[in-house]
């Protein structure tokens, strides 16, 4: 394939660097500096995709981020497929490979195009109307619809690329490096400010970079020469950083902006190696200057969507910047003078202009005059009513407009062509401005919205502010930037430009056909026509937001950058509402789509979330432990021997803990050091039971509620001294308990002298239980008298492991005689090993969290978060004994006397025994009194914990059941998908009700 549409000279591509690439399986070549779009056009390829609903052939339409048709998918193995990219933005490299999207099976033969034949029966809201009702049919259609409509393929394997995040602070951020952005930067650097200038394109200068050099001159320089000179002067200034290929995705309050910088997508595979693909910038700017430019509008007429119909400014860019002519026989359709510049550029480079169709009566600008002199035919007060050509335009039908522009008159003129340039004027790119909370105002004479007011430290300059004349853009940008930065640095530039602002607007051009027979597209990507909008209005949709959702106009990946204004204009016309009163739909971030990779950055795999490991972790690993996640912690779950299943391991560990001795790593329990003269009073207020009389050296179990009376957390607190306690919390609740206690101390009880310190990570906790635990402790911990008299249950002693101080608590979560050694973290593993050695003769067995849960369930001890779920009070748990009747108040007390918490038929914690002792219930299973043939059945409650108890040789379970307190001995049912399990309500303590084992 040859570049038969490439001019022999000119353009900013590097003609010495030839690049071959693949598109839809075919090999083409282009040059370094080409976008996929410019390279395809150079090869004469316009058809690049199919439309979403009707699968109509679509061609490259624009030259930038606003592209609505040319969505492609990059093909690069299983892990780098990249869908939804705009061919107008992708820079090609050697070996580049992409495919069209939205076509099945191929772009040239598309089965979905059959929709086009049926299009009269696929109007707006078609999907809603047909497939949303009846709901059960949706499943039948969904597969087909999704396949037919598909927006690209996602990769099936992990993304191998590197992404990065960067935080950046600057004095002035300038978004857009067109003439306005460059001028603003020129002023800003004079102030010695730290300036960041970004542009989404790979080049600078904005639309000025492809202006016709015969027409535009700045200080006698050609536009590109002025841009290059200005850029290099800026670049030499140390106060400024300039980034290209960097698109602002979101503009948040307080001048916080998210930008994505593309660092290596444009490089060949070889050059990419080891480089960061994209970087997400999180920028805080003291001041922001928006110079985001404007987007050219199309014209809305019948069949305005064929390949070969392009924006006039895009055609100008392709010929002037890339040296590519988009056609050989051109018709230009316009309502303004800007399109005449395109005509002159094309004409000067040998492209035949068949005609310029202008809806205006006349223009007294110099460009139309010049075109006249060049002998270009201009058809004033005419409109295009139809185009011909299936995969490429080949003819336009032109008719004269009536005086009031509401209809057409006279005879039809048919003009052959292979390219139609459309120019409907420019829309200021106010997307970022509105994202930042700025308010817009509608200019009724110029037909566009422009910035009105903002509460941020921000200005808009250039064409995004509704100024389109180059001289005015540069002068006003200088003035506004000086004012904005309190400076006075004006530079007089000598600017030659001959565009005039005369402009006439018709949102929907009249046609010679009835409206049902036409296809005037407004949103190309979502296939919304002006008729769909009319239909939505007829069906009663009035708000522009509703019309948008019903017709899906502006909801495609381009977010209506091209067609939004026409949709508004048509609604405004039909409803006879002023545009300003209609308002715009909301522009939401991102302005251009972001990759997930850039959003995630380096926060993947082990960096995705913090992983906390105890000081004994490596020992567990070495001994084959399986781990479970508890909050951010990795906790040893069970330690399977060779070939042992989880069930077998847990049974063995649980038995050993009761019969011989067990050892558990309890380091993850939250620990809060509480000191201060009001520490006892503080505990009185946060726990349900009384603390003032707890003797020094004693431990007590406490239940903490929320003020709504529901159980929040639990744990043992030890009084270390007169004004000194150490509180333990659940592993998962540590941080939130700490926060809650701090909150109360700082905000409700600032008068209390209490100081809290989280010491969870400071101590390792080794828990040894079982009948031999005392003997093991005696071998490991020195300076402690372990006799029951001196060291009874629920008390604490200080001792030494070798010469290291430790705290030993005699407390039990298993119901066995049990000790916890708390020692400085870094001695945790040594202490653990000492216990293992000392326990060898007593068959000490490490047990994990699963066996711990089983052991405590045998004793009916609750786990906050397992037996409780934020709707359970201590009374529901049948733990009335822990609620102090004497205390005037504690957190949650008042709520225990609310009518709802005192209600009779609340769910209570009970035990459940299966009639078949081998049957193990599923945790979460529902419990009923009466089994019906099929759901729904009245549910009484659910199973909260369930195990096979190796010590009792039967299945046990805890459950919360409506009115459970009164149901002891009652037979209930647990219906499962394949059977119904019969159970009997029992006491929740299954083993050693008297607590004899604590003193074994």
């Amino acid at each position: 394939m040859s570049n038969k549409f490439r001019l022999s000279t000119g353009g900013q591509i590097n003609r010495t660097e030839r690049i071959s690439f693949k598109f839809n399986g075919k090999i083409f070549f282009g040059f370094k500096g080409d976008t996929l779009a410019s390279a395809l056009l150079a090869n004469g390829v316009h058809l690049v995709g199919r439309s979403f609903k009707y699968h109509r052939p679509r061609g490259i339409f624009s030259s930038g981020a606003e592209e609505t048709n040319a969505l492609v998918q990059i093909i690069n193995g299983k892990n780098k497929n990249d869908p939804n990219l705009r061919a107008t933005q992708i820079e090609i490299f050697e070996g580049f490979n992409a495919e069209s999207q939205n076509c099945w099976p191929t772009v040239n033969f598309d089965l979905g195009a059959i929709n086009n034949l049926f299009s009269p029966i696929i109007p707006a809201g078609f999907y809603y109307k047909t497939f949303m009702w009846p709901a059960n049919l949706w499943g039948k259609y969904e597969h087909f619809i999704r396949r037919a409509a598909g927006l690209g393929k996602s990769p099936t394997e992990n993304d191998p690329d590197i992404y990065d995040h960067k935080y950046y602070h600057c004095d002035v951020l300038i978004v857009g490096a067109g003439p306005a952005g460059l001028s603003a930067a020129n002023v800003a650097i004079k102030a010695g400010k730290k300036v960041l200038l970004v542009d989404e394109r790979h080049h600078f200068g904005g639309d000025l970079s492809f202006a016709e050099e015969e027409i535009t001159k700045i200080n006698d320089l050609k536009p590109l020469d002025w841009i290059k000179k200005t850029y290099s002067e800026l670049q030499n200034n140390k106060n400024i950083m300039i980034l290209n290929r960097t698109s602002v995705a979101a503009y948040h309050n307080y001048n916080y902006l998210i930008m994505m910088q593309n660092l290596s997508d444009h490089l060949s595979e070889k050059e990419k190696k080891g480089k960061i693909r994209q970087r997400l910038w999180k920028v805080r700017a003291k001041k922001v200057i928006l110079a985001t430019g404007s987007i050219e509008r199309p014209m809305v007429f019948d069949c305005n969507d064929r390949p070969g119909i392009m924006l006039s400014s895009a055609v100008r860019k392709y010929i002037n910047y890339y040296g590519v002519k988009c056609g050989n026989n051109v018709v230009i359709f316009t309502n303004n003078d800007d399109a005449y510049e395109t005509a002159i550029s094309l004409h000067n480079r040998g492209v035949k202009i068949q005609a310029i169709v202008d809806i205006r009566e006349q223009s007294n600008g110099t460009l139309p005059k010049k075109c006249n002199e060049l002998g270009i035919k201009i058809l004033w007060k005419n409109t295009i009513v139809y185009t011909e050509g299936y995969k490429k335009i080949n003819k336009v039908h032109v008719m004269r407009l009536s005086n009031d522009n509401s209809s057409i008159i006279g005879n039809k003129l048919k003009i052959k062509c292979d390219l139609l340039c459309v120019s409907g004027g420019y829309t200021p790119a106010v997307h970022l401005f509105t994202q930042s909370g700025g308010k817009l105002i509608y200019n009724e004479e110029k037909y566009y919205f422009h910035p009105k007011s903002t509460s941020l430290n921000q200005i808009s300059v250039g064409s995004c502010n509704g100024i389109f004349n180059l001289k005015k853009i540069i002068e006003e940008t200088q003035t506004k930037t000086n004012e904005f930065l309190n400076l006075n640095h004006n530079e007089q530039l000598n600017i030659t430009e001959s565009k005039s602002g005369d402009f006439e607007n018709i949102w929907l051009l009249p046609s010679d056909k009835v409206s049902g027979k036409t296809k005037p597209f407004v949103d190309y990507q979502n296939d919304t026509t002006a008729n769909d909008i009319k239909l939505a209005l007829r069906e009663g949709y009035k708000s522009i937001e509703h019309v948008k959702r019903y017709t899906t106009t502006g909801m495609a990946t381009d977010q209506g950058k091209i067609g939004n204004m026409h949709a508004l204009g048509i609604v405004s016309k039909i409803t006879n509402t002023k545009m300003g009163e209609l308002g715009t739909t909301t522009f939401r971030p991102p302005y251009s789509p972001l990759t997930f990779g850039a959003i995630v950055g380096r926060n993947v795999k082990q960096f995705f979330d913090i992983v906390r490991k105890t000081p004994i972790h490596t020992w567990h690993e070495k001994h084959g432990a399986k781990f479970e996640d508890v909050g951010q912690w990795k906790r040893a779950w069970y330690y399977p021997n060779k070939n042992e299943s989880m069930y077998e391991a847990v049974q063995r560990e649980s038995k050993a803990a009761r019969n011989d001795s067990g050892i558990l790593d309890a380091s993850t329990l939250g620990k809060i050091d509480i000191q201060g003269t009001d520490a006892s009073e503080f505990l009185n207020r946060v726990y349900t039971n009384a603390w003032s009389k707890l003797a020094i050296g004693k431990c007590r179990y406490g239940l903490m509620l929320n003020d709504d009376g529901m159980v929040y957390d639990d744990g043992v607190t030890t009084r270390l001294g007169e004004n000194h306690y150490i509180m333990t919390t659940t592993t998962g609740g540590a941080a939130s308990v700490m926060n809650k206690l701090e909150d109360f101390l700082q905000t409700e009880w600032p008068e209390l002298k209490v100081y809290l310190t989280s010491v969870t990570d400071h101590f390792a906790t080794v828990s040894v239980c079982g009948p031999h635990s005392k003997k093991i402790l005696e071998k490991v911990v020195k300076n402690v008298d372990f006799s029951d008299q001196n060291f009874p249950h629920m008390s604490f002693k200080e001792g030494l492991v070798d010469n290291i101080k430790c705290r030993v608590m005699r407390i039990s979560f298993t119901g066995e005689l049990s000790y916890e050694i708390n020692i400085q973290s870094n001695y945790g593993q040594a202490t653990w090993k000492k216990c293992m050695d000392a326990g060898k003769e007593f068959k000490i067995t490490p047990y994990g969290t699963e066996a711990m849960h089983l052991l405590r369930a045998e004793k009916g001890f609750i786990i906050a978060g397992q037996e409780t779920d934020g709707t359970i009070t201590p009374i529901d748990l049948q733990m009335d004994w822990i609620i102090s009747k004497k205390k005037y108040d504690f957190i949650g007390k008042r709520s225990l006397y609310r009518s709802d918490t005192m209600r009779e038929n609340r769910k209570h914690l009970v035990g459940l025994l299966t009639d078949d002792p081998k049957e193990i219930l599923e945790e979460g299973a529902q419990i009923v009194e009466e089994v019906k043939n099929k759901p729904p059945m009245d549910m009484l409650g659910h199973v909260t914990s369930s195990y096979y108890s190796p010590n009792l040789n039967k299945s046990i379970a805890l459950a919360v059941i409506k009115n459970g307190k009164k149901l002891k001995g009652k037979k209930l049912f647990v219906p499962m998908p394949d059977k119904t399990i019969e159970v009997t309500v029992s006491d929740s303590v299954f083993l050693d009700k008297e607590g004899n084992r604590l003193n074994a």
């Binding site: 509460s455 909150d743 005037y888």
Partner: protein, 90 residues
Amino acid sequence: MFIIKCPYCGDRDHSEFSYGGEAHIVRPKQPTELSDDQWAEYLFMRKNIKGLQYERWNHAHGCRRWFNMGRDTSNDKIHSVYKMGEKPEK
């Protein structure tokens, strides 16, 4: 994403703070004297203001102190930041 001026640390990024709901709701000193309705009023009822709202914030990833803030919920403009126990500026 605001910039919040912690009364103890100064300007810091939003991400360092956590939100703590409506401010100036005092926990009753004598809950037992309250009717169910009065207690429910304290416990559950919160305003949902469009406009200037006083709310609690915690400099969670900083000094860990709680403080109050007057914020316009319609545009996130922060009008005042003041310590616990203090009254908002008028």
